[in-house]
Amino acid sequence: MIAGISIYEILTLSSILFFIGIYGFFTRDNLITVLMAVELILNASAVNFVLINTYLYPDLLQGAVFSIFIIALAAAETALAIAIIINLYRIIYSVEVKDTEIMKY
């Protein structure tokens, strides 16, 4: 509960975060940055949980716990994604999105 800041500002923030993530996902050329965009999306929802918990339902800590788990799983996801991307890099020596288009139609 931050004084002087209503839930709406923060919700706006998190939504912006979310859509920045989406935008990043659409536009980045590099797989790593795409991954970072995904992280933004996950973080947006993590933030959501925390502040909804604190602002609306402060008596139970469900949201907070949830966000912790989100962070943990996001970390795992990232690690795996990085590993996969590296594996790709070892094969084609590139992490460009446009090099991952051989399977289509």
Binding site: F25, F26, E101, K104
Partner: protein, 639 residues
């Protein structure tokens, strides 16, 4: 009296057919010929016995009784059902005698004529089949039984015309005969349907009894184009008769039918099957006469008259002797038709009816004789054409004499059988309808003319240089000739009016001398003209033909009826209807079904670009999906 044994008369030929048909390979020719003749011999014996028995004491206070023995064969509705059985009354007995007689003769004759043919047994099997079907038709107890055997005689005639099935012309003729008559039979069938729908019966007894449903109730039925449905039904039934009896306009199959072996022509296309139409009308005569003041009967009369005239005219010009005989048959049947058409019902009024039956009888004899004689000539000369013949009288005396007798008989020369029957017909025509009378007199003259044209051309005229000299036919062929010759003289002296009448009551028929004189003199004139033209080879006929020019040509080509039919069937039915049907099926129905498939495939090819393989496109479609769904939900379904 019990006539139930008459069922054997058709069944014997059937048995013959089954035996000969199943074992046609096994049975040697020598036996099968005798077998067939023997079987028919029994039939003829039985039928003669029946005739004697019936005509002697078949009367009950002066009226010939009708005996019916039948067995239900198939039940349609509670009212309508097909029975098979025998119906014994004067005309059926008369026809039975005719059929068995001619058939027997033809069997005897064929043993010689078909000698050495490899399909010998098959031929006799077919003959037996035909005899069975014809007798079944004659003895039919109801319309539907008649239709059944009607179809069967058609089929057996198909088989017999197409007997030489390797000959394309024979096959074509057989097909033509079958299809044309089948088309006519369509009328017959529809007629049956109409009549039975309103009367609820097929039975001749009910249909012809004066208080029967048909005659009593025709007024009740619906009317179509100003005529009661009953009349339409009768006309349609008559259409079947027209087809079988080769009246206009369904006569075109008869000339071609001459492709069959000559005995067959004698049996089927001269004596028996072709008169089935006449028999049909006679069978339903009361209905034709009473329903709607006999309008249908007038149709019969005019069709008969026109056919006989046209046929006679065409016969004058033909050169194939069998075709001449075919057209003469047609014209004689036209005679019988018109006789029926002009007839009335009671007593002496019903002269025409009697006359036509009488003529049917005599005609069967002498026309069969003519055909068999022609057959023996062809057998000797190996050609059908007059121009290959001439001066045969010294080579084949028996044939010559018998042929002459037949010719005189058909020409109505006084004292011969044809004279009496034809005279009755003319009397009947004179009494009721002058127009028809005049035309039939003219026909009488023409008949005499073309017959003797034929006679002189074959047996007189110059002697062609034959490669191997013609010789008289073997005994097996001449005996039937002699017998039939005998018949065609003396058949005329049978007091027919004592036996066969419209109202089943005998009456006295007298020779009407003035009319008879006119008729016979006309006939004799015809003979004389023929004598002048053809006794000695001369250029008269050509000059004459040229004088008439295109009319001659027109008639010679049978008024272009065949061409007309070929145009209708080939060009219109096949060329347009059938062709368009198959085209439509192939290019519209089928390809539309295939088209559905092709469209699906092409769509799937069109949309394959969606799967671009780009990770970010997938993400866009993912988010896009969310957005679209959200929009649809919020802007359409909610509020």
């Amino acid at each position: 009296m019990d006539f139930s044994y008459t069922i054997l008369i058709p069944l014997i030929p059937l048995a013959l057919f089954v035996i000969l048909g199943l074992f046609s390979k096994k049975i040697p020719a020598s036996i099968s010929g005798w077998l067939g003749s023997l079987g028919l011999g029994t039939s003829i014996a039985l039928s003669l016995y029946t005739a004697y028995h019936y005509f002697m004491d078949g009367k009950l206070e002066g009226v010939y009784q009708t005996f019916v023995y039948k067995q239900t064969w198939l039940i349609f509705t509670d009212k309508l059902h097909i029975d098979l059985g025998v119906l014994i009354d004067p005309i059926s007995v008369m026809m039975m005698v005719v059929v068995t007689t001619i058939s027997f003769m033809v069997h005897l004759y064929s043993r010689g004529y078909m000698h050495g043919d490899d399909g010998y047994t098959r031929f006799f099997a077919y003959l037996a089949l035909f005899s069975f079907s014809m007798l079944g038709l004659v003895l039919a107890t109801n319309l539907f039984q008649m239709y059944i055997f009607w179809e069967l005689v058609g089929a057996s005639s198909f088989l017999l015309i197409g007997y030489y099935y390797t000959k394309p012309s024979a096959v074509a003729a057989a097909k033509k005969a079958f299809i044309v008559t089948r088309f006519a039979d369509l009328g017959f069938l529809i007629g049956i349907l109409l009549i039975s729908y309103y009367t609820g019966t097929f039975d001749f007894k009910d249909l012809t009894s004066l208080d029967g449903m048909l005659i009593a109730g025709w007024g009740a039925s619906a009317s179509f184009m100003g005529l009661s449905v009953f009349t339409w039904g009768l006309i349609l039934i008559y259409m079947g008769g027209v087809g079988k009896s080769a009246m206009l306009p369904f006569h075109i199959w008869l000339p071609d039918a001459m492709e069959g072996p000559t005995p067959v022509s004698a049996l089927i296309h001269a004596a028996t099957m072709v008169v089935a139409g006449v028999y049909l009308v006679a069978r339903l005569f009361p209905a034709y006469y009473f329903v709607e003041d006999g309008f249908a009967l007038q149709v019969v009369a005019y069709v008969g008259a026109i056919s006989s005239l046209v046929a006679a005219l065409i016969a004058v010009t033909q050169t194939d002797i069998k075709r001449v005989l075919a057209f003469s048959t047609m014209s004689q049947i036209g005679y019988m038709m018109l006789a029926l058409g002009v007839s009335k019902y009671e007593g002496h009024e019903g002269l025409g009816y009697m006359a036509s039956m009488f003529h049917l009888f005599t005609h069967a004899m002498f026309k069969a004789l003519l055909f068999l004689g022609a057959g023996s000539v062809i057998h000797a000369v190996h050609s059908n054409y007059m121009q290959d013949m001439g001066g045969l009288r010294k080579y084949m005396p028996v044939t010559h004499i018998t042929f002459l007798i037949a010719a005189l008989s058909i020409a109505g020369f006084p004292g011969f059988a044809g004279f009496f029957s034809k005279d009755e017909i003319l009397v009947a025509a004179f009494e009721s309808n002058k127009l028809i009378y005049y035309s039939s007199v003219l026909v009488a003259g023409l008949t005499a003319f073309y017959m003797f044209r034929l006679y002189f051309n074959i047996f007189w005229g110059e002697d062609r240089k034959y490669k191997h000299t013609p010789h008289e036919s073997p005994l097996s062929m001449t005996i039937p000739l002699v017998f039939l010759a005998f018949m065609s003289i003396f058949a005329g002296y049978i007091p027919f009016s004592q036996f066969v009448t419209a109202d089943l009551m005998p009456f006295e028929a007298h020779l009407n001398l003035p009319l008879a004189a006119i008729a016979s003199s006309v006939g004799i004139i015809g003979i004389i003209i023929a004598f002048i033209f053809y006794k000695k080879p001369s250029d008269l006929p050509e000059r004459f033909a040229n004088a008439f020019g295109f009319i001659y040509k027109w008639i010679y080509n049978k008024l272009y009826f065949d061409e007309l039919y070929i145009f209708v069937t080939k060009k219109i039915l096949f060329g347009v209807v059938a062709f368009s049907a198959s085209w439509f099926d192939k290019n519209v129905v089928d390809s539309s079904m295939i088209g559905i498939g092709n469209v699906t495939v092409s769509v799937s090819n069109k949309i394959k670009g969606m799967q671009s393989g780009k990770l970010q496109d997938y993400a866009m479609s993912f988010v896009g999906g969310i957005v679209v769904i959200a929009m649809v939900v919020f802007y359409i379904w909610i509020n």
